[in-house]
Every structure is written in C-alpha cells, then in structure tokens.
Subunit: 339 residues, 2 copies
DNA sequence: TGCCTGGCTTGATACGTTTTAATCCGCAGC
DNA sequence: GCTGCGGATTAAAACGTATCAAGCCAGGCA
C-alpha cells in the first residue's frame, strides 16, 4: 500500500469511469445515489487520497496563500498569523508561513518559492518598502496585500494600524498623568512603525505646548528584548535628576527589556519610572509589573488582510484596492502611574 | 502578462524544444552553452516561473514537509520551527506550519491536508499519543517523525528531551540550595512532558531521602501564563508557614504567571519563594526576576527532527527508525537562591 | 566513401485530476 | 413505432513538467 492509489484505480474497482469518481468528489449531487455509494465504498476500501498537485495543475492555481513576516519569534506576528490562518481555513486554503528574518535575501527567496507554488496571493510585511521583487510578483498577477505597512502608491491593498495615533495616545497618557520628562526608545528609523510612533509622540508633546526637543530620543538597533535591556542600562546610568520619569517603548519586547533592567537597578516601576509599551502582546500583561501598552488588533489585522486578499483573488482585474487602517487602543495597567 | 508563461512558450521563443528548456533548468551541464544562453535569455525576457504543481505531479511527491505543533504562540514551538525551517531550506524544501491548537479535530484536518499535498514527511507533536489517523498516514507511506515525544512502539523515528532527567535536575538544584518544602505545578497529567517531569522530581526527592508525599502537587489545566497565575494565587493564599519555599513549574509560561502573582502579593522572589521554570524561552531571561530554568535544545530538536525525516524519506523501506534523546541543562539565574 | 562515435537535441509519453461535450438509455407523449 | 427529453454516465482533452529512447549531425577513422 506504499504507492498512492489514483482516481483511476478507484474507478476500476467501482466499475465506473474516472469522470464519475471525480464527480462524486466534486459534485456528488449530480450522480445517482447507488453509484455514489459504490464509489465511496471503493474510495475508503482502497484508501484513496486526492492528489492536490494534480488538482492545482488542472485548476491553474493553488489552494494556498503565502504569509511572509519579519520575525516569527515575535508574538505580534504569531497572533497575526493566527488571524490569517482562521480566515484562510474558512475559505479552504492552507497557509505557507515564511519568516524573512528581516533579511531581504530570505524575503526574495520566499517570494520566488511562493510564486512557483502559484499561491492565490501573498500577505507580507516587507523588509524594505520599495522592493522590486514584490512589484514584479504583483505585476505578473499575484495579488499582494501589505500587512502592518501602508501602501505608498495605492496600487495595492494594505492593512495597518495608525501608528501616529498610537504614539500620540501613549504620550498623551503620560502627559495626562503629569509626566514631562519623557523618553522614547525607538528602533532603527528605517522601520516605518518606529518613525510613525515617534511622530505621534511629538504631536502629543506639541499639543501640550512642549517643544519637540523636550522628548528625549534613545535609539536601539533592533526591536527585541536585548535591545530594551541596553536602553535600560542607559536610562539607569543617568543621575536621577535627569532621568526621564516616563519611558515610551516602541514595542513591548523593548519595554520588557527596560523593565527588567529597571528592576535590576532597584529603580521602581512605576514609582520612579513609568513605562508604556506597544502591541499589548500576552507577555505584557504577564510581566512582573503588568505593562501599560497600546493595543493593536493583531488577530483582526490578520483576518482583514486575508479577507482583502481573497477578495482580490476573486475579483481579478475589476478589483478596487483598499487601504484599511485600524485604530490602536490604550490599555492601562500597573507600569504607569500619576507623577 | 497576467497569465503565467509555460515552458512551451519559452521553447518557442528560443527556437528549441521543451525538452531542451527542461534540461537547461534541471541539468544545465548537458546542454551546449550557446543554446543554454539563448534559453536563459528567453526565460528572463518572458518572465518564466516554474510551475511547482506540475513538477510535483510529475515527480510523484512534493518538495515540502509538514510541521504540526500544539501551540504556535508558545516560543518553545516557534524556536523549534526555526530549527526545522533551517534544515528544510538547506535541502531545498518548504515547510507548511500547522497549528493543532491542542485539538484532535484540527490535527486530523491538517494531517489530511498534508497527505493530499503529498508532503515528503510530517513532523508532529501529537495531541494524543495513540492517534489512528497518524498511524494510517504512516502506514500509507508518509514518513512521520515524532517531535518532543517519544515513540512508544519504536515503529517510528522520534526526537525528544529526557524530561525525567530534567525534572530531576530542577528539583536537585532546589534541594542542593536547602529547600525541602517544594511544590510542583503541573499541567494536565495526560501530557507526557508534564508527567515525566513530575516523575523526575520525585526521583530527586527520593534520592535525598524524602518521601514522595513531600512534594506538593498543584494541578493546572493548561500550560500557559493564565494557568500559572491561578496557581500563583493558590500559593499566595497559603499561610506563610505552609507555603513552599520553592516552586518547580512545568514550563516557563507557568513560571512567568507564578512570578507575576508572587510580585502582586508582595511575596519576594527569590527571597520568600524560589521559582524554577522549564524550557528556557527567551522571555525567561527577560522576566523582571530572570528565571532559573531547565533549558531544552529547542532549535537543535528541530534540526535533528528534520534531518531524521529527510533521512527516512531518502532511504525508503530500508530505513532504520531511530529514537534520539537529548539531555536538558540547568540555567541558573536570579529566581532561585539558597534558603 | 562509408561507418561509427559521441555530443546535443527532440518527440512522445506519463503523472492525476477536472471539465466539456458527447453518448446512452429509459420513458412519456403523440 | 417514432420523437424528444432529461438524467446519468463517459471519452477525451487539457493543465506544465521531466524523462526516456530515439534522432540528428559533425567529425574521425578505416
């Protein structure tokens, strides 16, 4: 039983033609019930399993879709993936999850692979924004939806969260609590999310009548816990008179790193320093000092992106590209307090 | 350019036969260099992309492999997936990552899907151990490697970590630090990992001359942060004379939940209660009190599993199944201390 | 000149499925 | 008895690729 059985053998075994077997599989209602039963019996007796490759070849396109993320280890992306998966499953599609690891080379390799698989479409948070490979893929007819990144050209669908607003919300919360000496810990400026949140932070400062220079900027080289720790050591090293009373971290991983370093240096959170993160990943609530954070609708982001993609795959040429933008939401926990 | 171009059009454009084009793609060395150049020119000019479905149909099997995990949101599994991915990529294979979510129904659905895709093999941490669907899949010729779970029957390859030893190591560490009132927070007993770590813990107690009843057992219903918090509330509710001086959590997510709850109740870690986790996920080191934990070689687990699978896919009938067992390793940080 | 050799190239076939158009057959209506 | 109809079935073609056996041709040898 080591060699898979084909529709042909099922047909022979049931004494019908292959077309009938195929009909039983795809439009059971048009075949007479006695024949149907006979075919089904043959199928389970022989252990027949459809060959997806053959179906795809015939259909001209596959029943899968590609999702390319920057970092599978970041809970933000696994939650997003979860949303995509739900929606895809509902439509009977499988998801190929690819991890570009922030490297353009890996991203390109995966895009090639997905194109060879003739996926119905690609959901991607691109490493760089003007990628030629991605444009080419799309030009050749594969629907592409940008995830957590806005389309510059309106030539494609995209799903994102308003990060400027998010930055504004975060800093407004700190200002409302009486903080004025505030620092922003941002990753590489090339990452749009980082830049937007900074812009939002400045907007909030401005509205409060504070000059932009007033917001202290601490740069880190990546959006992970280790970088947050390094930033934390910088903050801890400041004399307490110059130390910010509140820190806005550009994501929760950074915030967790900061928090750990504060604790290690016996700087109390939130009494000495308030910390606010971004994303509201599950670990944020579970931190030793539960993190105040700006929540992004992660799963919904995934849902929506997948739905847009399916829509586009359905509509074909007639498709109207859409740019969906969600609003983030403040979640107050214990890591921030009144000054 | 919306309809993909096939090998046939490339052939026409280059003035050769389809066989030659195929040769250029698969065995370039056997075709004359001038022809090769002409074909390559045609390929890039027309924007030809191989059709993977057709290749697979012809080859009889796909160039992908399936990985089914219990919980993508658990960093243990994403790290493992990373290891699998590395190894698979090296062999030119893509990975379909499936999330069974601890539900047998979803697991079965994914197994069907993978079989229809004619994957080269399946790597799986099964929801239940005696699954008939899995056995059937294997009987029909798809190589299966059990991941983080030992094969009961030796009828298949498996990769696991010695969890009994891990439990022993954890509790021995606590005993050596002078703790005697120790609690074990375990998930559902049906999960092998949970049971094995418990057994190891008892073994260490026994060696130290302590009766099994001495190890306090706290059951939780799942291996996640929320369950850890619930366990933490139980522990905090005990009068301090009866409260364990050390807690061994069956994984890091539980330990993080415990830690948070201790902090909330002003029970100091490690001064009042030592906590040791299991897995050593990245968040363990980044917790506000960096967690002592029992490290599993997660990526290596993935590497090895993938390699075993590829071996089996290669060897065919002649394959000798292997059971690989890794040893866990103690990582001491700040959440445990001398009594 | 005829034959062989070896390097390249190619025609034909198969992989497993779906779908279209055609066929078959029993039966009602005239 | 013939026609037409409609439901059930089927033969055949197509999807794009890889491979095998066969073919072609230039050049070397007898």
């Amino acid at each position: 039983m080591n060699v898979p059985v084909s529709i042909k053998e099922v047909a022979a075994h049931a004494g019908v033609s292959v077309a009938t077997v195929s009909n039983v599989l795809n439009r059971p209602e048009i075949v007479a019930s006695t024949t149907r039963d006979r075919v089904n019996a043959a199928i389970s007796e022989l252990g027949f399993v459809r060959n997806e490759s053959a179906r795809q070849l015939r259909a001209g396109r596959s029943r899968t879709l590609g999702l390319v993320v920057l970092d599978v280890a970041n809970p933000f992306f696994t939650d997003l993936a979860r949303g995509v998966e739900d929606e895809a499953n509902k439509a009977g599609l499988a998801v190929i999850l690819c991890n570009s690891d922030d490297q353009e080379r890996k991203e390109n390799r995966y895009l090639d692979l997905l194109e060879e698989h003739r996926v119905q479409g690609v959901l991607i948070t691109p490493v760089v924004s003007g990628g030629t490979r991605l444009a080419r893929l799309q030009r050749r007819g594969t629907p592409v939806v940008l995830v957590d990144s806005r389309s510059p050209s309106r030539g494609q669908c995209s799903v994102a969260v308003d990060d400027v607003l998010g930055g504004d919300i975060a800093v407004s919360h700190l200002l409302a609590a009486g903080h004025e000496r505030i620092a922003y810990v941002g990753g590489p400026a090339s990452i749009r999310q980082v830049a937007d949140r900074y812009e939002g932070a400045l907007r909030a400062m401005d509205r409060a009548g504070l000059p932009p220079g007033h917001l202290q900027l601490i740069r880190v080289e990546a959006l992970n816990v280790a970088s947050g720790q390094r930033a934390g050591r910088q903050v801890a090293a400041l004399p307490s008179g110059e130390r910010p009373t509140a820190v806005f971290a550009s994501n929760d991983l950074i915030a967790l790193g900061l928090l750990q370093e504060m604790t290690r240096h016996r700087i109390r959170v939130p009494e000495d320093v308030s910390i606010i993160g971004y994303d509201d990943i599950d670990f944020a609530a579970a931190a030793a000092v539960p993190l105040t954070s700006v929540r992004q609708p992660r799963q919904q982001l995934g849902h929506t992106a997948a739905r847009l993609l399916l829509e586009e795959a359905e509509d074909g040429e007639a498709h109207q590209h859409r740019q969906v933008i969600f609003e983030p939401e403040l979640v107050v926990r214990e890591s921030t307090t009144l000054l």
